[in-house]
């Protein structure tokens, strides 16, 4: 560690004493890094020293979030390629791509809840449609056999 002590500047006097650890030099060394993660110069030097921990925690959270975003981006691209892939198949006439997903992947609790509700609603609608189709089919068969439907 570099110090301001004269013996060090003069090349040492062979005292055998190790240079004292200077906190200031360590602070100087890491200050730019903390500034790069958003900590202001005055927060670093004059602020509550514990703030550094929270800035590090914030940095970790931001990295994780960024990583998730990049992963999601890759997943979207991958999915879009798969959806579009029928278009790129040779010898396939009238190949239709699958539609791109109608909404982003739900990642927040609120979005997941909303998506679940929508799915339930969609399933209900589909069930209702299926029931209606079955009824129509049944009525047709019934009519063919000479039956009469109420209201006709």
């Amino acid at each position: 560690m570099v110090t301001d002590s004269p013996s060090d500047e003069a090349g040492g006097g062979g005292s055998g004493r190790t240079s004292p650890l200077r906190y200031g030099e360590l602070f100087d060394e890491v200050c730019p890094w903390y500034m790069s993660i958003g900590m202001s110069y005055s927060d670093f030097w004059d602020g509550d020293c514990e703030m550094a921990k929270f800035y590090r925690e914030k940095y970790e959270i931001e990295r994780e979030r960024k990583n998730t975003e990049l992963w999601m981006e890759g997943a979207y691209i991958y999915e879009a390629l798969l959806d579009a892939s029928p278009m790129f198949r040779d010898f396939t006439k009238r190949a239709k791509p699958l539609p791109y997903r109608d909404s982003p992947v739900a990642i927040t609790k609120r979005a997941i809840k909303r998506k679940d509700e929508l799915n339930k609603q969609r399933m209900l609608e589909q069930g209702r449609e299926a029931m209606r189709a079955m009824m129509i089919e049944f009525n047709k068969k019934f009519e063919k056999k000479g039956g009469k439907i109420d209201g006709d």
């Binding site: 004292p20 602070f27 030097w45 514990e50 590090r56």
Partner: protein, 109 residues
């Protein structure tokens, strides 16, 4: 929150704290934490006086000396001041992740 010492002296409230800037200033003025054990009579009052820099920079030395003299439980006070002095560096060395902001350190003994 950073470690601080609060007290009242002659009707005035005081908050003692070390920031990175005040620690660096003290080092520039010749304070070396390691020497506290070797030269307690000079280093301990200097450590105490340094704790005023963050919030009470312009308090005169003779007032600081009177406060120091009036402080009871000096052993405990010095111990706490030592912890406070180390706080600005300790807060940079928190485990567990090998974050880029961590300070590398090695003992010389």
């Amino acid at each position: 929150m950073a470690k601080v010492i609060r007290f009242s002296f002659e009707g005035k409230e005081y908050v003692l704290e070390f920031t990175r800037k005040t620690v660096k200033e003290m080092e520039h003025e010749g304070f070396i934490a390691r020497n506290v054990d070797d030269m307690p009579m000079t280093m301990l009052p200097a450590l105490f006086a340094g704790a005023f820099k963050a919030h009470h920079r312009w308090v005169k030395q003779d007032v600081i000396d009177r406060i120091f003299a009036a402080m009871p439980n000096k052993d405990s006070l010095i111990e706490k001041l030592g912890e406070m002095y180390n706080d600005p560096i300790v807060s940079l060395m928190d485990e567990p992740e090998d974050s880029e902001g961590n300070v590398d350190w090695a003992a010389s003994w």
